[in-house]
């Protein structure tokens, strides 16, 4: 059972890592002016909900499988994701708004956020891997 949980978390974590990398690449494309703000934001906004769900699922999974430490580790970021999604003003096009992304250093803060998430997911990845390998009923 334990191993199933961690295998699933591992896969989910991989997806989140890819997503974080995708965010970073797209944002840096915008920074370097390879794409315009409009297309950048519509690309990124598409993936905001999958990210929220992906992370929420792992967090909940950890809660129900009673891995308290991992759950608490994941909780702040999952909460932040949801908070960010809910707090989008009604007139904006999503978390990433093309009309504001160049203002008030938003691009930089989005970039920083994506970097932090990438680091976090990498950490989680190795943690899940370790837990998986140390599982008594390991499949490997």
């Amino acid at each position: 059972m334990e191993s199933v949980v961690f295998i699933f978390s591992l896969i989910d974590c991989c997806a989140l890592i890819f997503l974080a990398v995708y965010f970073i690449i797209t944002l840096s494309d915008l920074e370097c002016d390879y794409i315009n703000a409009r297309s950048c934001c519509s690309k990124l906004n598409k993936w905001v909900i999958p990210e929220v769900i992906g992370h929420a699922v792992v967090t909940v999974l950890m809660l129900i499988s009673l891995h308290w430490f991992i759950f608490l580790l994941n909780l702040p970021i999952a909460t932040w994701n949801i908070y960010r999604f809910i707090m989008v003003p009604s007139g904006n096009m999503g978390v990433f708004d093309p009309t504001e992304i160049h203002n008030r250093g938003q691009l930089k803060s989005h970039m920083k956020e994506a970097m932090i998430k990438l680091g976090f997911h990498l950490l989680c990845f190795f943690m899940y891997l370790y837990r998986l390998s140390s599982c008594p009923s390991s499949l490997v």
């Binding site: 315009n36 703000a37 009604s90 096009m93 093309p98 009309t99």
Partner: protein, 1114 residues
């Protein structure tokens, strides 16, 4: 400059296909003629459902009835995009708004004729035959290197022939001038051994560029040969004195000499030389030159001399420039300090100059920094309009600097590091008015536009020339080559003077862009008008006014033969108007499917204005009557906008929307969010848009180069916060006429008329982009204004108009060590209404400082207030209004406490502020009391949001007037100190403080609040004023709604009217004058502007100061 994506020209046909499809589905409404009567275009005149539906099912709708249409489609197509068609975008004619200063030339053509170069500066310390230009150099003797007169004449003639007549004669006269110089070889100084100096010996400020050079400028181009300079320098005083003598009679100095008469005439030669070299050139040359002749004397303070001459605008005639003999050794010494001239060369000249400049304007600095105890100085407001502070640069750089009305920085002394900026607690940013109507604007036509190769900066007056063939970018410091064509100066018609080109002499300049600057042929001017014709709209009667104004100004719409125009009206359905040529009257097509809007016919909805003028006039005359019986109350604004966008997207252009109520059906329908009883609390008011529909649509519009201007004329809440997005992100403008009604509110009618007239006739730029560049180390982090930020520094402006202002906030990313000055450049690339692609470039140069006191000394309080207002609007939208208000107050507290703790050495009691910021608390208080940020019940939500839109979109001058109006007493105007403009005497009464205390019952006061003026008549106002200016017998008989001053024959009336109209002429819009007395309903708006007084919900100025003092001294 990325240019707009190519339009999809094939969109027309799919459009018709859709139409057909829909018609088959039976969803399209019938074709209805505009007038009830026989409709030639429509198959079935009656409004029955199936018949016209079938008619519409024909390909291209009514075209079936009119076979000519297809041809018309093609021909109009051709006219739009085929450059071969006359009247399309090759317009050699000069637009009327650039009266002079047209530097039209085709560089390569003329350069080839001047390949025997006559570069005076170049000959300085090089052998005369220096093969600098690739062309064969033929300088072989003392013969002046002028092309044979015949050749030059032909050149002049050919250029005069191929260019506007205005440019021709000056060229010729200039040529004659240089000929005369040639014919007086005696005019060249004896020491000038180098060839080619004859022509260069005296270049007057050319008549061609009368606008660019100040009248007193005197370009002295005496160019000594290398050896002679050596001689003169090594043996100061040895050169024969009569150098200037033959020259000055030819060109008498236009202003009296300011300094003592020449002392060391030798020096004159050098100074004369400096005149046309940038100081960098001369320093470099000097340094290399003087290595051999060391001179130990230290640099005296009057070093500024060398800067003086650097930009060929010598303040003094050359003969008088050597005011102080010690200047010469000083200069040599300064040159010696930089023996490796080419290495540090961009810095030293500016550095030394800066030093001198600081010394020179020491008093100015001191003035800005003088501590003022705000609590003690009661009369702090200057009695004249506050001028922008002058940057602490040397006067010759400053003279070239951009006009502060166009380009202004909050801190005229740029802090060197972000840490210093943070310490100062003042915002750093720029306020721009880039497309302002200018009376004089140099326009350059050239096949290559010289730009930095790495950062793409346009060459500007603040670049440094390393030598004649290389220049160093002042933004990224890359060394660039001077292209061959740039060596020829079209103004003086001299080769080898790149530093004298108009591009290097003007901080504001316009280039005619060659084809590299367009991705598609320049678009034609396209205007689409979208009118709300629901019952509510008809009730207000606005359509009459608008149609009439439009009819009157149809010929004044900026445009050319390609101008296109179209009309859409909407209530719960959308009505299109076919203005096909050949129709006897316009034809209305109704689309009732508002869920999925389509364009009922591919062509003839946007038609050529000139070819179809009668039909258009016909439509404008009938339009107001057509809907008088309409009972439709719904408003489908969203679908109408979508339709307008679809119609415009192939070309781009301007959509003007007139809306009178909350959109209620279809996409973009809105709900009322205003709760009148919650107005008082600053919380929970809806400043954010409720839907992203308008924003998305605006971005679509922006992508297709369409701008939407919104005219909101409504009595009830219309959610401007949501609607305004359509204009905000498509670079349009918003106009708001609260409670517009043709009968009940005649003042608004007049306002609409005047503003609409200005709106229709003002200049317009299409498919524009603006980029703001700044010196490496600075970066822009927030933009304010109506546009879409397409990439980090590129603003997409589908339309640009002369009444729009922009602001940016900046930060210091890398510290600006080793930099004495920084530069900012805004470049606006647009298509003019004549179909020319043009680039308007403004460049501003500011000094960098390292101490906090200097930062404060250079603070520009108006610009700071303007930028803070923009930031506060953002804050109130992203957070809450009270947050924004707190932030404004904190800005004052923080900056004053930073000043107190870091700059003031002696801690004095009271509230101390540097003199430069002495008006800061007053202006911030004024902002807090302004409609956008005030608390209290009297601001309606739409009005508040409209004021916020204005804060974002108004140029600084008008924003300041709106925030802090000017108050004048006008019942005792005298001619003392009056201005005299065009034989009109304009009295200049002093500006009074905005306090009731300043009002007296026996006076009359004029308050100028930018877009509105109040004339308050005191109860005991002098009888003479009432009868001789207002034209009524006594106070009691002043009518309630008086908005005009009668033109009477009395001196008082003439003075008052002259003053009021002078104020009005200074702005592009028309401020309405309300004449109010004590019982007028508008008295409260007048008193509201009394910023220094206490109101029920806001502090008085003195209380505000006390509050700040308390916080500062904490």
């Amino acid at each position: 400059h990325p240019t707009p994506p190519p339009p999809c020209r094939s969109a027309a046909l799919p459009g018709s296909a859709t139409c057909t499809q829909r018609a088959c589905a039976g969803r399209a409404a019938p074709v209805v003629p505009v007038r009830r009567g026989p409709a030639p275009g429509a198959a079935e005149p009656s409004g029955t459902e199936p018949g016209p539906g079938a008619a519409m099912a024909q390909p291209a709708g009514p075209a079936a009835a009119c076979p000519v249409q297809n041809q018309m489609m093609h021909s109009s197509d051709a006219q739009g995009y085929n450059p071969a068609v006359p009247g399309s975008y090759s317009h050699p004619k000069v637009p009327p708004h650039q009266p002079s200063g047209q530097y039209n030339y085709s560089g390569s053509q003329n350069v080839s004729q001047f390949n025997s170069y006559q570069g005076p500066g170049q000959t300085l310390n090089r052998p005369p035959v220096a093969p600098l230009s690739g062309s064969p150099v033929q300088q072989t003797g003392p013969v002046p290197q002028v092309p044979p007169p015949a050749l030059q004449n032909s050149a002049a003639i050919s250029s005069a022939g191929s260019f506007p007549p205005g440019a021709g004669p000056p060229m010729l006269s200039n040529w004659q001038y240089s000929q005369s110089a040639v014919s007086h070889p005696a005019g060249t100084p004896p020491s000038h051994l180098a060839p080619g100096t004859g022509t260069g010996s005296a270049q007057p400020s050319p008549s061609l560029s009368g606008n660019t050079n100040p009248p007193g400028s005197y370009q002295y181009a005496a160019s000594p040969g290398g050896p002679s300079l050596h001689n003169s320098f090594m043996k100061p005083g040895s050169a024969p004195p009569p150098v200037t003598q033959p020259l000055t009679p030819l060109h008498p100095p236009p202003r009296p000499p300011l300094g003592p008469p020449p002392v060391g005439v030798t020096l004159f030669v050098d100074f004369g030389h400096y005149n046309f070299c940038t100081s960098s050139i001369h320093l470099k040359y000097l340094s290399s030159l003087l290595l051999a002749t060391p001179h130990p004397s230290p640099a005296p303070p009057n070093l500024k001399m060398n800067r003086n001459v650097g930009y060929s605008y010598p303040a003094l005639p050359p003969g008088y420039q050597n005011t102080s003999p010690p200047g010469a050794p000083g200069m040599q010494a300064s040159a010696l300090q930089y023996p490796d001239g080419s290495k540090h060369f961009h810095q030293p000249p500016l550095g030394t100059n800066h030093l001198t400049a600081s010394m020179g304007s020491l008093s100015l600095q001191q003035e800005g920094l003088r501590p003022v105890n705000l609590l003690q100085e009661r009369n702090i407001l200057p009695t004249t309009i506050l001028q922008a502070p002058v940057p602490n640069l040397h006067e010759d750089i400053q003279k070239l600097n951009c006009n502060p009305e166009l380009f202004r920085c909050t801190l005229t002394n740029i802090p060197q590091t972000q840490a210093l900026l943070n310490k100062a607690k003042l915002p750093l940013g720029l306020l721009l008015h880039p497309f302002k109507d200018l009376s004089q604007l140099p326009v350059v036509t050239s096949s290559t536009i010289v730009r930095c190769r790495s950062c793409r900066t346009y060459i500007n007056p603040f670049v440094s020339f390393l030598d004649q063939r290389r220049w160093k970018c002042n933004l990224c410091y890359r060394v660039n080559d001077v292209p061959e064509e740039f060596m020829y100066n079209p103004v003086t018609r001299v080769y080898g003077e790149p530093h004298k080109r108009p591009e290097v002499q003007n901080a504001t300049i316009e280039f005619m862009a060659p084809s590299e600057y367009m991705l598609r042929p320049p678009q034609p001017p396209v205007y689409l008008f979208v009118f709300d014709v629901s019952h509510n709209a008809i009730e207000t009667g606005y359509l009459n006014t608008v149609c009439k104004t439009l009819l009157d100004n149809l010929d004044l719409l900026p445009g050319n033969t390609r101008t296109k125009i179209g009309f859409i009206t909407f209530d719960s359905t959308i009505h299109f108007y076919s203005l096909q040529e050949g129709l006897s009257q316009p034809q209305m097509l109704i689309v009732s499917d508002i869920e999925d809007v389509f364009i009922p016919m591919p062509e003839n909805l946007l038609v050529n204005l000139n070819e179809n003028k009668e039909l258009i006039q016909d439509l404008l005359r009938t339009l107001p009557q057509m809907f008088t019986k309409s009972l439709e109350t719904q408003s489908a604004l969203g679908p109408a906008l979508q339709a307008a966008f679809k119609l415009m997207s192939p070309t781009g252009g301007r959509i003007s929307v007139f809306q009178t109520q909350l959109p209620s059906v279809g996409m973009g329908a809105l709900k009322s969010r205003e709760e009148p009883n919650q107005r008082a609390t600053a919380k929970d008011i809806h400043l954010t848009p409720s839907t992203d529909f308008y924003k998305k649509l605006a971005l679509d519009c922006s992508g297709q180069q369409v701008a939407v201007d919104l005219f909101l004329l409504s009595g009830q809440y219309s959610d401007l916060a949501s609607l305004g997005c359509i204009s905000r992100y498509s670079a349009g403008s918003v106009y708001y006429y609260q409670s517009y009604h043709h009968k009940h509110n005649p003042v608004q009618v007049e306002k609409l008329q005047k503003e609409l007239k200005r709106y229709l006739t003002r200049k317009i730029g299409f498919e524009a982009v603006m980029r703001i560049r700044c010196t490496k180390g600075l970066s822009i982090h927030t933009f304010h204004g109506n546009f879409f930020v397409r990439s980090t520094d590129l603003l997409s402006l589908p339309n640009v108009n002369p009444d729009a202002g922009y602001a940016v906030q900046m930060s210091v990313e890398e510290s600006l060590t080793d930099m004495q000055v920084v530069s900012f450049q805004s470049a606006l690339l647009y298509t003019s209404s004549k179909g020319e692609r043009r680039i308007r470039v403004h460049t501003m140069c500011l000094p960098v400082v390292t101490t906090l006191s200097d930062v404060y000394a250079g603070a520009d309080v108006q610009a700071i207030t303007g930028l803070l207002a923009n930031m506060a609007v953002d804050r109130s939208v992203s957070a809450t209004l009270s947050d924004a208000r707190d932030a404004l107050v904190n800005a004052v507290i923080d900056s004053l406490s930073a000043y107190r703790s870091s700059v003031l050495s002696i801690q004095q009691p009271g509230l101390m502020a540097p003199s430069s910021l002495r008006l800061f608390p007053l202006y911030v208080l004024a902002l807090l009391k302004q409609k956008a940020f005030q608390t209290g019940t009297n601001a309606r939500l739409d009005e508040r949001i409209f004021t916020m839109c204005q804060v974002k979109n108004q140029p600084l001058v008008y924003l300041m007037l709106m925030t802090h109006p000017s108050l004048y007493r006008v019942d005792n105007l005298t001619d003392e100190g009056a201005l005299n403009i065009n034989d009109r005497t304009i009295p200049q009464p002093p500006i009074l403080q905005l306090s009731v205390e300043k009002l007296s019952r026996d006076g009359a006061y004029l308050m100028d609040a930018g877009s509105v003026m109040f004339l308050w008549i005191g109860k005991n106002c002098g009888q003479s004023f009432i009868s001789q200016v207002l034209g009524v017998p006594n106070y009691g008989s002043i009518p309630q709604n008086m908005t005009h001053l009668p033109e009477l024959e009395t001196a008082e009336s003439i003075r008052t009217i002259a003053f009021v109209s002078w104020l009005r002429e200074q702005r592009p819009f028309f401020p309405i004058l309300y004449i109010i007395k004590d019982d007028s309903p508008l008295k409260s708006s007048f008193l509201q502007n009394m910023i220094e007084d206490r109101t029920e919900s806001a502090l008085s100025y003195y209380e505000f100061l006390l509050h700040i003092q308390q916080q500062v001294n904490k």
